[in-house]
Amino acid sequence: MSQNNTQMSPQQLAAKKKIKARNRKVNQVLVILTLVLTLVTSAFMIFNIVQIALKPSGGSGEVMETETNRLKNEYYEIGNNPTEIYQDYFKELTAALESGDEQKIAESVVKCFITDYFTWTNKDGNYDVGGSQYIYGEKQLSFIEQSRWQFYSDLDLYIEEYGRDNLLEVSEVTITSSAFTPHDDRRMDDGYYIEATWTYKDSSVLNTNEFMHTGFFYVTKGELQTDRYEIFNFAETWEGYTEALAEAYDMEA
C-alpha cells in the first residue's frame, strides 16, 4: 500500500481522501436511513398486530366448538358435542359390536339414536340433526331434510328465545321390548323390532312431557349386510301410524 501511495500524486491522494470522506458520510446516512426504516417498519407491523388482535372476531354468530377427539368404532362415530349419557351408550354400542350380539347392537343403536336425535342442548342449529348416521344409509340426507321441516323446524326459534342450555336433553333411555324379525318378501331384511321410552332432563322453559318420549323402531342391517345396523322406520306409537305417515309424507291416508 505504501508503495501504491507513493505511486500516487498528492492530488490523487487528496481526491481519494475526499471520496473516502464523502463515502463515509453517505454510509452514515445510509446507516441512519436503515435504522429509521427498521424502526418505522416495525412500528407499522406492531400497530397492525395490535389492530388485528383488538378487532372483534368476524361476526358474533355462534358456532359451537367442534371436538376433535371423538369416540368411534368400526361402523359409527359419535356425534358433535356428545352428552355424557350419549357417550355411555356409545360405549355400550362399541362393546356390543365387539361381542357380536346382534340384538344388543340393535338396541344400542336405538339408544344412541334417541339420545342424539332428541337432544337439542348440543345442537348448533336446525341443520345439526342428531343421530342421522343411525338411519338407513341411503335415506340419511332425506331424513335430515325431513327433520329440518318437521321435528327440528323451530329449533332456531327455541335457541333464540330460550338458549340452548334450556332445551331438550335426553337423560335416560329404556328398552321396553326387543324381538328379532326375520325378513320377508316385502323388501325388508332381517332385523329387530324395538320399543323404547326415554326421559328428558328437567327444563325450566319447556314442558318436556309434550315432546316424544316413547317409540318403536325397526332396526335392520344395511345394504352391505355387515354388523352395521340402521333404523329403517320409527314412530311414536302403532296407533295412528298410518295417519302419521300420511301426514309426514304428504300422502292421502
Binding site: G58, G125, Q150, E160, T181, N233, T242
Partner: protein, 1019 residues
C-alpha cells in the same frame, strides 16, 4: 526479497468469489451499500403493503393473521438488521445473506401484492356501501309512424309523459332547450303511454331508451315496434339513495336480499332471498317480470319496469310493498355475469327435460345460437346455463317455469361455489363478480358470512360428499294468472300477469318466518320416519288459488280475429287444427290435456278443468266460462257475466246492454261504460260516438267502425274515400270528390254521399241529371230524367200517408218498397254492397245491415258436450244401481265378476264375503262384529298371552295361513299371542304386525300411490 516474494506466491491460493467480492467491497462499498438499501426500502414497503392489504380478511382467522404478521415482523427485522450491519462493517457474509433474503422477499411480495390488489379491486368494484347509487338514464322521444320526422315537427303537438319520472322531467327540459312548445299529456304507466302512442292519442312519447326491448317481446306490439322512431336520444346521470345497513351482523341476524338479473335496463329476474344463519335456510321467492303491481310513485305497471321508472330504489320499494316486507340489501347481476361465473367455476349440472337451442348472452333478441342438451345431471357451460335460465317458450308454464329454472341455476352455482378449493378459481369467480355484479353488502359482512359458513361446514357431517346440503334452499314463486290490458284507442292488448293474493300471502309468511319476524312455533313435537317413502319438502306457494279472477279487458273477439278465427254470437270459430284459448286466440292443438286427470295438474299445465265432466281440455266447452283461473263453470247469463247472455232478451233481461252482436255489462252510462248510453247526447257526454250504421236506431261506441269517423257532433260518418284514382262507382265519397266520380263514369248522389252507376237510381226525392252527371232534387227542372216517367196524374194529392211515387222505376235488382216511395232490395237478395242486389254468400247471413259469418259451432245434444269442435258423449260420473263405471260407460254389474273386495273381505268364487268376525258390505268394506272377549276370534291358537284391548281384536289367527293377497286384513295392533315361548312369540307377533301393516299400507291406505312417481328431491 525476490525469493520471499516467490515463496509467498507459491503458498497463496487463487482468490475465490468471496475474496473477489470482499476485495471489491473493500475497494468501494458505496454501490453495494446503496443497492442493498434501495432494495431494502422496496421490500419493506411491499411487505407492509401486503400485510395491510390482507387485513380486511383477518376476520377469517384472527390467530392465523396474527401469526402471519408476527412472522413478517421478524423477517423484516432480520433483513433490516443484516443490511444495517453490512453497511457498517462491510462483511461479505452479511452482504450475501442480505441479497438472498431480499430476493426471496421480493419473490413473495411482488406477486402477493398483485393478488391482493386484484382481490381488493374486485371487491371494491362489486361493493357499493355508500348508500348512493349512480345510474345512467337513457331517454328517447319517440313517435309512431313517419309523419313527424324531426323534433321541430313536435311544435304545438301532444307529448305523452309519465309524470314524476326522470324521463318526463328531462324530456321537457330538452324541448325547452330546443325551443319546441309541446302540450304534455300524462299517463300512469309507460305501457298505457305506448298504447296511446300507437292509437294516435298523442303525437310523441317520452320513453325509457330501452322501450324497444321493453315491449319488443309483446306479441301484440311486436309488429308495431318497427313503426316507432326515436326523434331524440339522450342520457342523463342520476343519483338515487338506497338505504344500507353495514353494521348488521349477518352471522347472527337473518337478512333479506333482492336479487336482480338485469339486461338493457330491464330487471327480467326478480328474486327475494332471505337467509337465516341459525337454521341455515335460504329462501328464494321469484316474481314474474310481467306481474302487474303498484309501482313506486303511484299507478300500476309491470314490475320489471319499476327499475326503468325509478331505478334501484324504485324496484326495491315496489317489491317491499308487494310482499309487505323489508329488504335489507340488493344484489344485481347482468347476463354476462352469469356466463362468466359459471365458466369460472367450471360449469354447473342441472336436470333439463327439453333439448333446445336458446338465446345467447347478447342483447340482440332472436340470437339463438346456444344448444342446451336434455337429460339428468347435464353439464352446462356459461352460455348454456344462461340460455337454460332464460328459456320459457318450451314450457306450458312459460315464464313461471323460467323462474324455476333461474332458481335451479342459482342453486347449482351455490353448490359449485361451496366446493371451491383452489385459489385461482376463487379469484376468477371474484373477477367475474366484480365485472358484472353490484351489491351493497360490505366486504366485511361478506367475509364474516363466508367465515361463518366455513365454520358451520366443519360441523356438517357430509362436507365431503354434499357440502351444499348444509344450506337448506327453499325455492318458491309468486304465482298468478295471465290477463291483459286493453287499449281501445290502439285496439291492442298488453299481456300481464296478475299475482294471486294467496300466493303473495304465502310467500310473505315464508319470508317472515325465515327472517324470524314471525315467531310462531309450528313444528310437531314428535317424529315419524319410514325409509320406504320419499320425503318431499312442502311447497311455499300453490300453483293456483281459488280466487275470483279479474276479467281481462281484452275482448275475446280480438284474440279470435287476430289469430285467424271468426267471432260471432259470443263464440269463436277457429281454423281447422286450432282451438280457441282465452287470452291467446286460435292456437294449434299441441297438448293433449285429456291426459291430466286431476284439476291441479290440469291447471298447472295450462288446461281448463271442468268439475261437471271431471276432465281437462284446452278451453272451456261451449256453454261454459272460466270463472276462476283454470276452472270452467256453466256460463250462466247474469248481470255480472254478460258473456253468458247470447240473446238480446237474455242480455237486457238481466240489466245488461246488447250491442247488436254481444252483450256487455250494463253499468250505467259513464266514461268507463259509454256502451251503456242509450242516446246520442249521453253518449257524447260519456266520450263515446254515436253509431247509426251498425245498429239501427244507433248505439254508443268507443270507436267508430272501420271506414267511419266521428263528426263534430260525435256521430260516426263515413270517411271520405281518398284513393289515388278518386271516387269510384259504388264508393261513398263526399261532395268534394264528385268530379272524380263523374270522371270515373259514375253519377254522384249527394243525398247518399255515394257515387252510383249510371243505371242506378238516385235517393228518394232525387233524379239523375245526365248532363250534370249527378242526382238532383226533383223540384229542380230536370234536364233529362229518363227514369222518371210522367204519371198520368202529374200532381199528387197531399195525404198523411206516404204515397207511391208515380212511375217509380227501380234498377239493379231493387224493387219498390211497400209504400212505393223508394227502391229497396228484395228480402232474398238483401246485399247491395256491390251496387246491385245480391244474396249473402254461403256461410253468411243478413243481420239487417250486412252479411255475417254463421257460427260453425255445432249444437250438441243431450248427454253430449263440445270438444275440439266436435260433439262427444258426456262421461258419466256415476251409474245406476246394478251398474258400474268402466272407462266411459256404465256396465251392468252382473256381466263382470267383481275383482276387488272391500276391507276385511275375501273373494270367494265370484263374490266377496266378509271375513269371519266381520260384517257389512263386502264390496265396500266390512267392520268388526261386536264382541265381549278379546280372544273371541276363536280361531286363535290359544288363549294365553296378553289380551289386547277389545276394539283391537283382530280375530286373526297367528300363522293360520291366511294370505294377505286374498283380501284379508288385520287391525294395526299386534294380534293375540298363543302363549308359547315369549321371545319367539313376540317376534312372531311383531313380524305379523309389520306384515299386516305393510298390507294395510299397500292394499288400503296407499293404493293410490305409485312410488315410481314420488318425486325425488334432487341435490
Amino acid at each position: 526479497m525476490a525469493k520471499r516474494v516467490h515463496a509467498m506466491d507459491k503458498t497463496m491460493k487463487k482468490p475465490g468469489l468471496n475474496q473477489k467480492l470482499a476485495a471489491l467491497i473493500k475497494a468501494d462499498a458505496m454501490p453495494y451499500n446503496l443497492g442493498l438499501t434501495i432494495a431494502l426500502v422496496v421490500v419493506d414497503v411491499l411487505m407492509v403493503l401486503l400485510v395491510f392489504g390482507i387485513n380486511s380478511f383477518s376476520t377469517l382467522s384472527k390467530n392465523i393473521f396474527l401469526i402471519i404478521n408476527a412472522v413478517v415482523l421478524v423477517l423484516l427485522l432480520i433483513v433490516n438488521l443484516v443490511v444495517f450491519f453490512f453497511i457498517k462493517n462491510r462483511r461479505v457474509p452479511l452482504f450475501e445473506a442480505g441479497i438472498v433474503l431480499l430476493v426471496l422477499l421480493l419473490v413473495v411480495t411482488i406477486p402477493g401484492n398483485y393478488l391482493v390488489m386484484r382481490v381488493n379491486n374486485s371487491m371494491n368494484a362489486m361493493i357499493n356501501t355508500s348508500g348512493t347509487v349512480t345510474e345512467s338514464v337513457d331517454t328517447s322521444i319517440v313517435v309512431y309512424g313517419s309523419i313527424i320526422t324531426d323534433l321541430n315537427g313536435l311544435n304545438g303537438k301532444l307529448l305523452g309523459i309519465v309524470p314524476d319520472t326522470t324521463y318526463a322531467e328531462k324530456s321537457q327540459e330538452q324541448m325547452e332547450a330546443n325551443g319546441i312548445s309541446v302540450t304534455t299529456v300524462e299517463y300512469d304507466s309507460f305501457s298505457t303511454l305506448l298504447l296511446a302512442l300507437v292509437g294516435g292519442d298523442v303525437d310523441a312519447a317520452a320513453l325509457p331508451g330501452n322501450y324497444a326491448t321493453m315491449y319488443g317481446n309483446e306479441a301484440t306490439l311486436e309488429k308495431h315496434i318497427d313503426e316507432f322512431h326515436s326523434l331524440l336520444d339522450f342520457q342523463t346521470v342520476v343519483e338515487s339513495t338506497v338505504e344500507v345497513d353495514n353494521e348488521k351482523d349477518l352471522t347472527k341476524e337473518p337478512f333479506s336480499v333482492l336479487i336482480l338479473g338485469s339486461a338493457d335496463g330491464l330487471t327480467d329476474s326478480i328474486i327475494v332471498a332471505t337467509f337465516n344463519p341459525i337454521s341455515m335456510r335460504l329462501t328464494m321467492s321469484s316474481i314474474a317480470r310481467d306481474s302487474w303491481v303498484p309501482i313506486c310513485g303511484g299507478g300500476s305497471n309491470k314490475i320489471n319496469s319499476a327499475y326503468s321508472t325509478g331505478g334501484l330504489s324504485c324496484i326495491m320499494s315496489t317489491v317491499e310493498t308487494l310482499l309487505d316486507i323489508d329488504i335489507d340489501y340488493y344484489f344485481m347481476a347482468n347476463f354476462q355475469g352469469v356466463v362468466d361465473i359459471v365458466d369460472a367455476i367450471g360449469g354447473i349440472v342441472v336436470d333439463n327435460p327439453y333439448e333446445f337451442v336458446g338465446q345467447d348472452a347478447s342483447s340482440q333478441r332472436g340470437h339463438k345460437t346456444v344448444w342446451v342438451p336434455a337429460g339428468e345431471d347435464v353439464p352446462l357451460n356459461g352460455e348454456q346455463a344462461l340460455a337454460f335460465a332464460r328459456e320459457r317458450h318450451l314450457y306450458a308454464m312459460g315464464d313461471f317455469q323460467r323462474q324455476i329454472n333461474q332458481q335451479t341455476v342459482i342453486n347449482a352455482i351455490l353448490t359449485k361455489c361451496l366446493r371451491i378449493r383452489d385459489l385461482n378459481t376463487m379469484l376468477n369467480v371474484l373477477q367475474a363478480a366484480a365485472d358484472n355484479m353490484d351489491t351493497n353488502i360490505s366486504q366485511e359482512q361478506l367475509i364474516d358470512l363466508f367465515n361463518y359458513t366455513m365454520q358451520k361446514m366443519a360441523r356438517w357431517k357430509y362436507t365431503d360428499e354434499h357440502p351444499e346440503k348444509l344450506i337448506d334452499i327453499v325455492g318458491s314463486r309468486v304465482t298468478g294468472y295471465n290477463s291483459s290490458i286493453w287499449s281501445e284507442s290502439a285496439g291492442l292488448p298488453l299481456s300481464i300477469v296478475v299475482p294471486y293474493e294467496g300466493s303473495i300471502a304465502d310467500n310473505h309468511d315464508a319470508i317472515q318466518r325465515n327472517l324470524m319476524i314471525d315467531k310462531t312455533y309450528s313444528s310437531n313435537k314428535y317424529m315419524v320416519f319410514d325409509a320406504s317413502y320419499e320425503f318431499v319438502a312442502p311447497k311455499v306457494s300453490n300453483e293456483t288459488y281459488s280466487e275470483a279472477i279479474k276479467q281481462s279487458q281484452t275482448p275475446p273477439s280480438y284474440w279470435c280475429e287476430s289469430t285467424g278465427g271468426t267471432y260471432s254470437n259470443g263464440a269463436c270459430a277457429c281454423p281447422v287444427g286450432t282451438q280457441f284459448v282465452s287470452e291467446k286466440g286460435c292456437q294449434t292443438v299441441q297438448t293433449d290435456y285429456s291426459t291430466y286427470t286431476t284439476d291441479t295438474a290440469c291447471v298447472a299445465a295450462g288446461g281448463k278443468w271442468s268439475w261437471d265432466s271431471n276432465s281437462c281440455s284446452s278451453a272451456c266447452q261451449a256453454g261454459y266460462v272460466e270463472s276462476t283461473y283454470g276452472y270452467c263453470t256453466v256460463n250462466v247469463c247474469s248481470a255480472d257475466n254478460p258473456s253468458g247472455c247470447t240473446t238480446e232478451s237474455a242480455c237486457t233481461g238481466v240489466g245488461n246492454v246488447w250491442n247488436g252482436t254481444y252483450c256487455s255489462i250494463g253499468n250505467s252510462c259513464s266514461v268507463d261504460h259509454p256502451e251503456a248510453c242509450k242516446n246520442q247526447s249521453d253518449c257524447g257526454k260519456a266520450g263515446g260516438y254515436w253509431d247509426t250504421f251498425t245498429v239501427a236506431g244507433g248505439v254508443c261506441v268507443v270507436k267508430c267502425p272501420d271506414g267511419y269517423e266521428p263528426d263534430n257532433n260525435g256521430v260516426c260518418k263515413a270517411k271520405p274515400q281518398e284513393t289515388p284514382s278518386g271516387c269510384q262507382v259504388g264508393q261513398k265519397c263526399d261532395a268534394a270528390n264528385k268530379q272524380s266520380c263523374k270522371d270515373n263514369g259514375g253519377i254522384y248522389d249527394p243525398a247518399a254521399g255515394m257515387c252510383i252507376a249510371t243505371t242506378s237510381s238516385c235517393s228518394v226525392g232525387y233524379h239523375i241529371d245526365s248532363t250534370l252527371k249527378e242526382c238532383v232534387k226533383d223540384t229542380s227542372s230536370p234536364s233529362n230524367s229518363p227514369t222518371i216517367k210522367p204519371s198520368t196524374s202529374p200532381t199528387t194529392q197531399p195525404s198523411d200517408k206516404p204515397t207511391s211515387t208515380p212511375g217509380l222505376q227501380c234498377n239493379n235488382g231493387q224493387v219498390p218498397n211497400e209504400s212505393g216511395t223508394a227502391c229497396v232490395c228484395p228480402s232474398d237478395k238483401p246485399d247491395f254492397s256491390s251496387g246491385s242486389c245480391a244474396a249473402c254468400p254461403t256461410g253468411t247471413q243478413w243481420n239487417g245491415s250486412s252479411c255475417q259469418t254463421i257460427s260453425t259451432t255445432p249444437t250438441c245434444g243431450e248427454n253430449e258436450h263440445l270438444e275440439n269442435g266436435v260433439c262427444v258423449p258426456n262421461i258419466p260420473t256415476s251409474c245406476d244401481p246394478g251398474f258400474h263405471l268402466e272407462g266411459n260407460q256404465c256396465i251392468k254389474d252382473e256381466t263382470v265378476p267383481p275383482t276387488t273386495c272391500g276391507t276385511n273381505a275375501t273373494l270367494v268364487g265370484t263374490e266377496c264375503q266378509c271375513n269371519s268376525g266381520y260384517e257389512g258390505d263386502p264390496y265396500k268394506g266390512c267392520t268388526l262384529k261386536p264382541t265381549d272377549s278379546p280372544s273371541s276370534g276363536g280361531e286363535s291358537g290359544g288363549q294365553g298371552g296378553t289380551d289386547p284391548t277389545p276394539d283391537e281384536s283382530g280375530g286373526q289367527e297367528i300363522g293360520n295361513g291366511a294370505s294377505p293377497e286374498q283380501g284379508t286384513n288385520t287391525e294395526s295392533e299386534p294380534p293375540v299371542s298363543d302363549g308359547t315361548d315369549p321371545a319367539a312369540q313376540t317376534a312372531t307377533l311383531f313380524r305379523n304386525a309389520f306384515r299386516s301393516l305393510r298390507f294395510i299400507a299397500q292394499e288400503t291406505t296407499y293404493q293410490s300411490i305409485d312410488m315410481s312417481k314420488v318425486p325425488v328431491l334432487r341435490a
